[in-house]
């Protein structure tokens, strides 16, 4: 089987490549690419004129909810949503029920993800850092590593005890296992449901101070610096956090970080009249934070963009704001948001955009993804992006079961139109039929 992606703009940050050319895939693997490749005979061909050909997007941070949260999302619906969002590899967070703290659960997720009904993309489980994600005792991290987790994290229930975190880092350094940290001092955030600021004051909603996040970035950064363990900061939301990560990198701490589309586009004012679609953790902050997060992206302090896909069932969201769960369903809007609000504003070039959403996240966790170099990944993972396609995001028509999107009704310019992971796994209705040709036997 020889598949040709012809005459597109190839954007591959793993080889600093930004050229008009073609990509050849044979039996599911990239074999050649560039300006002057021989197209030769083919079984199928995609005319990519005017489109970007990029390595499939890589998401460091998604919640697939299975097992235990199937009314919110399943591995099937979540991977389908990811494929539709242009992702070919996604990391799923361990805060399932039960939490992902045993090798058998890792197997369960890998089995489900590779079943024919699923989205056809790779799922990389992230293991729980402590037993039951309770923040007290370390999990069986060597066993989890052997079972195939790429990193460990206690995600939304972060370890509060610094001594537990220090031991965890020492042990993970030995295992060469990165720790992904959601930074929140839960004593400071307790009871809060949105950013502590003018809007929370007006609405009479308990606020979460930015200190709750920044204190933990500081603590975890210091521990990373002193232990040498690789630490990845998840979903930065404050300007102070960006400055702290910048300092830790300057000091030589082995740290990386991510930002998520909502923190680059939305502020606490979007909560408006108690709209639970805008409730997430950490909470949406302010315009100043957005400015500094954008700067952090532009200057490379922020390594990656992750979706923080957090789907919920409709009934869970139809409650008073304080009772609503924190999180947004974002896999299918992520690229549209970034292309429209970051790339189009020249904060990131097209090549840098792909780096932050594919190559860099793959490198952070050492995943077989994020590159079109022949033989680099076991299976060709690529996405075709129409950078000019204007579209309106409709949260009611997503593959994800979670309809809790803050972007419902938003217009975007630029969309993933075809996702390929060994074979075609998603084709957008707006991908013209004339672009595809299947050779007749």
């Amino acid at each position: 089987m020889r598949t040709v992606f012809k005459n597109g703009r190839i954007l591959d940050p793993s080889q600093e490549l930004d050229v008009i050319g073609s990509v050849i895939v044979e039996d599911g693997q990239v074999v050649d690419l560039g300006e002057d490749v021989e197209i030769g005979e083919f079984d199928e061909i995609y005319d990519c004129e005017g489109l970007w050909i990029a390595p499939g997007l890589v998401d460091l941070h998604a919640h697939l909810r299975e097992p235990g949260g199937e009314s919110r999302e399943t591995i099937k619906s979540g991977t389908q949503a990811a494929a539709a969002g242009g992702f070919t590899t996604i990391c799923c967070m361990p805060n399932t029920n039960p939490p992902l703290d045993t090798p058998s659960l890792v197997d369960f997720i890998l089995d489900k993800a590779s079943s024919p009904e699923a989205g056809g993309i790779f799922v990389q489980p992230i293991g729980a850092l402590t037993k039951g994600q309770l923040g007290k005792e370390l999990g069986d991290l060597a066993a989890l590593k052997m079972a195939g987790v790429a990193a460990v994290s206690d995600e939304g229930s972060p370890v509060q005890d610094a001594s537990v975190m220090m031991r965890a880092m020492e042990f993970c350094l030995q295992l060469d296992l990165p720790i992904m940290v959601h930074c929140e001092d839960t004593n400071l955030s307790e009871g809060g449901c949105m950013n502590d600021g003018p809007t929370s004051a007006m609405l009479g909603l308990p606020g979460i101070p930015r200190s709750a996040e920044e204190i933990m970035i500081m603590r975890n950064g210091v521990l990373a610096l002193n232990t040498g363990c690789r630490v990845h900061f998840m979903r930065l939301s404050t300007w102070g956090g960006v400055e702290m990560v910048r300092q830790f990198k300057y000091l030589g701490a082995p740290v990386t970080c991510e930002v998520c589309p909502p923190y680059l586009t939305l502020t606490d004012e979007h909560v408006g009249e108690f709209d639970p679609m805008f409730k997430t953790t950490p909470p949406l902050r302010t315009e100043v934070d957005i400015d500094i997060l954008m700067q952090g992206l532009a200057d490379g302090t922020i390594d990656a963009i992750a979706s923080d896909h957090s789907p919920y069932a409709p009934f869970e969201v139809e409650v008073p704001f304080e009772d609503a769960p924190m999180g947004m369903s974002t896999l299918e809007s992520a690229l549209g948001v970034i292309l429209t609000h970051v790339t189009a504003k020249n904060i990131l070039s097209p090549l840098e955009t792909i780096r932050r959403m594919s190559t860099a996240p793959a490198e952070i966790l050492g995943l077989d993804a994020g590159s079109l170099i022949p033989g680099k990944t076991p299976m060709a993972q690529l996405v075709l992006i129409d950078p000019h396609l204007e579209w309106v995001f409709d949260a009611t028509r997503t593959f994800s079961q979670g309809k809790n999107s803050p972007y419902h009704g938003w217009s975007f310019v630029g969309k993933p139109v075809l996702t390929f992971c060994g074979s075609e796994v998603y084709r957008d209705a707006m991908f013209s039929e004339e672009r595809y040709e299947l050779a007749m036997e």
Binding site: P198, T199, A201, L203, G204, F274, F315, V319, F321
Partner: protein
């Protein structure tokens, strides 16, 4: 046409003034034994997710004046305690054909959410720390009776501003009507940023109430000691108690208000609470008449007597 009363923040000065004036007329009618019922026996649901004897009784009395029938919903044994969602509870009341709902709930924003599901007139009887509009309207009627106007006054709201729906509703009300609002309290009980909330912040009682026409004390909840925002009641009393000595800083003819229930000896000393400047009992009485007005107003019945 029917309408809801969710928040003073959403209302304009004319609407607020109209309701206060209507309450004053209704009060006059009732005190002179004139009938105020329109003759139509509406059915009103009193939906109190959070206990409140005072506000509930006040609404019940308002319904008595209007000859409305009341359906009480809440407390132990109701489906709310069996885990039914706010949405389903409200939908049930809607389909039981209640004509209006008066709702009290512990969560800010719940009144607006409930209104969306009820799809008919809903009166917010207190939603979390957001608003308590009928309390503010009753307070306005009390001020109007005592001061003869609602504009050009200085009102100091003293105490736990952060957690107070009474503070928010009154701040919006008096600022919309052209009076000057000041928030007075310790930093630990004041929002870190007031944003749109209309009023000047004072951490010092003396500057805060200096020259005030109205000193409105807020109730201090015991939780403020357990959640670490105050070390003791004594500390609060030392810094913020309105009493004979501190009240001298306000205007000579200042009035003292409190939404109740009072912690005697904490926000106010006995002499002040029961003294000539206190209008606390009038606030309770007027609370009934503004609720009477509101329960007519939601059905667009203000003109009909």
């Amino acid at each position: 046409m029917s309408r809801s009363l969710i928040a003073i923040r959403h209302m304009d000065a004319d609407q607020i003034r109209g309701l206060v004036d209507m309450a004053a007329r209704l009060k006059d009618d009732v005190l002179h034994d004139r009938k105020i019922s329109s003759g139509r026996r509406r059915t009103i649901g009193l939906l109190f997710f959070e206990d409140s004897t005072r506000t509930r009784v006040s609404f019940e009395q308002a319904c008595n004046y209007l000859d409305y029938r009341i359906v009480n919903f809440g407390g132990s044994g109701s489906s709310m305690n069996k885990g039914e969602s706010l949405k389903d509870t409200i939908l049930t009341l809607k389909h039981e054909r209640l004509e209006a709902v008066v709702m009290r709930h512990r969560s800010s924003g719940s009144a607006q959410l409930g209104q969306g599901y009820f799809d008919g007139p809903l009166v917010n009887a207190g939603d979390g720390q957001h608003e308590h509009p009928t309390q503010a309207l009753g307070d306005a009627l009390t001020v109007l009776e005592r001061k003869g106007r609602l504009d050009g006054l200085k009102i100091a709201i003293v105490g736990d501003v952060m957690h107070s729906r009474v503070a928010r509703s009154n701040a919006w009300l008096f600022s919309k009507l052209g009076s000057e609002v000041r928030f007075v309290g310790p930093r630990t009980l004041m929002p870190s940023s007031m944003g749109m909330l209309p009023g000047e912040v004072h951490y010092d009682l003396r500057t805060g109430i200096s020259g005030a026409d109205i000193v409105m004390c807020l109730r201090l909840q015991k939780e403020r000691m357990t959640d670490g925002r105050l070390s003791s009641i004594g500390e609060f009393r030392r810094l913020y108690q309105v009493n004979r000595a501190t009240l001298k800083w306000a205007k000579e003819d200042a009035i003292v208000m409190h939404p109740g229930p009072i912690n005697r000896g904490v926000e106010l000393d006995d002499l002040t609470a029961d003294g000539p400047k206190s209008v606390i009992s009038e606030q309770v009485t007027n609370g009934v008449f503004v609720r009477t007005a509101v329960l007519k107003w939601i059905f667009d019945e203000e003109g009909s007597n």
